[in-house]
């Protein structure tokens, strides 16, 4: 049985950890509590109590099943990241992750198109202008949705092993496919 985490303890944990800019609140919550979770949870145990704990901490999660699935996925991803980059546990908090412009769409180090040291930050699509973020709802045109995130011509990869641009694009693709499935669009669910 999972114990209560305690708000004060969680607060201090949060203060001592820095969450990656692009991380979702759930990911950062898992990161903050990973030691406790590792100690309490055995492989194969249900994620239900942890979903309840996250909710108690004010996280806005989808229905139980999806929340558990997401938690499991993030947990596996986090374990992989920690294996490769132990320093990745120390990542900054980002208070703005729930805004309309999902930070997860942006690579780490993303800056608006302002001239800085003579250089302008490049949009992921390589157009040289900041990428316009269109909410999924507005972008919902049957049969003409760009599942393909525009290619980053002559892309400037960060060279980082955790592929921030790739991850941001992968998340956008996943969201798009789920939205299509929800709309029962053809071609994206087998019949």
């Amino acid at each position: 049985m999972t114990g209560r985490f305690g708000k004060e303890r969680l607060k201090s944990l949060i203060e001592n950890h820095r969450a990656r800019d692009s991380a979702t609140p759930l990911y950062r919550w898992l990161l903050t509590n990973c030691e406790d979770i590792s100690a309490l949870r055995s492989k194969g145990d249900s994620w239900a109590p942890y979903v309840a704990a996250a909710r108690e901490d004010g996280l806005d999660l989808p229905d139980e099943k999806e929340a558990m699935r997401r938690m499991e996925r993030y947990w596996r991803r986090m374990a992989g990241t920690r294996r490769m980059h132990p320093e990745a546990e120390q990542v900054p908090q980002s208070p703005d992750t729930e805004s309309a412009m999902q930070p997860s769409r942006f690579p780490r180090g993303w800056r608006p198109a302002v001239v800085d040291d003579g250089r302008v930050s490049c949009a992921p699509d390589g157009t040289g202008v900041p990428a316009q973020i269109v909410p999924a709802e507005e972008n919902a045109q049957v049969a003409s949705l760009p599942a393909t995130v525009p290619v980053c011509s002559d892309s400037e990869t960060t060279g980082e092993k955790n592929f921030p641009i790739g991850r941001a694009r992968a998340e956008a693709i996943k969201r798009d496919l789920l939205a299509r499935l929800k709309r029962k669009e053809p071609g994206f669910h087998r019949e």
Partner: protein, 276 residues
């Protein structure tokens, strides 16, 4: 939407159309031929006249050759011989300015041989040919080996690269977005996306074997063209193929984008949503 007209990068004002060489790479039985065959048929339907090159010598039943005598076949079975043939074809392409669709088959192929033995991407660019590389993958790790190997060992990731997940390879009982999510966790895929690769999900098709057995094009099958010695096709099979050709594949092509496709003078095909 109009089909892509890609101009020589050196002088954007010069309206010289660069021919596109489109090649699908992946292990055997990941759907490369199915994708290329449907693309060749739809491109022709939309007024395009790409050359069709086939170096897939292992696949005799399900092959681009079923598209007709216009398909050019390599005169050698060995990767090195086929690579030499391919070089010759590419040189001709520079003259003819046609687009080309190449089926290289699975395994270590002529294309891999060219990538290994010559600076292919640089050479193509110099020759004014736009290379579009489609990596066809499914959910198995082995599906991604080619992408990983060519990326990491050979530094091969052309500017116009697309990661195409074949829906037909995804296991039953798991919905497509969920399966795709898992594939997108793969480091080789993330690396490709990080470097600007495009992405698409190629729609599954049922009853492929029946079409392969008949040695027919998809469109001929959907149009119920008889094949001597073969039984009449089922109306449900034809309806399924028809819907796939008119709705699912065009939708996928739109997602992929005209820049990743051979030229289609009539534009990308309409997506027929109803009564197919």
């Amino acid at each position: 939407m109009a089909s892509a007209t890609i101009t020589d990068a050196a002088d954007p004002t010069e309206l010289v159309t660069r021919p596109t060489l489109l090649v699908a790479i992946g292990r055997q039985r990941v759907g490369k031929t199915t994708f290329l065959k449907s693309l060749a048929e739809i491109t022709a339907q939309q007024g395009g006249r790409p050359e069709i090159w086939n170096t897939d010598s292992m696949n005799r039943s399900h092959t681009l050759s079923s598209l007709g005598p216009q398909v050019l076949e390599a005169d050698s079975m060995s990767p090195t011989g086929q690579a030499a043939w391919l070089e010759g074809q590419i040189e001709k392409l520079v003259e003819s300015r046609h687009d080309a669709i190449l089926d290289i088959g699975g395994g270590w192929t002529a294309m891999h041989e060219l990538i290994r033995s010559s600076p292919l991407v640089a050479a193509l660019d110099e020759l004014g040919v736009s290379l579009v590389t489609i990596f066809m993958i499914g959910m198995e790790n082995a599906d991604i080996d080619y992408l990983q190997d060519l990326q990491e060992q050979h530094g091969f990731l052309p500017r116009r690269t697309a990661i195409v997940i074949n829906e037909g390879l995804l296991p039953v009982g798991i919905d497509t977005p969920q399966a795709v999510s898992q594939i997108l966790e793969n480091e080789a895929v993330l690396n490709a996306l990080d470097r600007g690769a495009a992405h698409g999900v190629f729609p599954a098709i049922n009853g492929l074997k029946k079409i392969a057995d008949r040695g027919q094009s998809f469109m001929d099958f959907a149009a119920n063209k008889p094949v001597p010695g073969q039984p009449k096709s089922s109306v449900f099979d034809r309806l399924r193929v028809n819907r796939w050709l008119k709705r699912d594949v065009p939708l996928f092509l739109r997602d992929l984008g005209a820049d990743y496709l051979p030229r289609m003078p009539k534009g990308l095909p309409d997506v027929v949503m109803e009564n197919v």
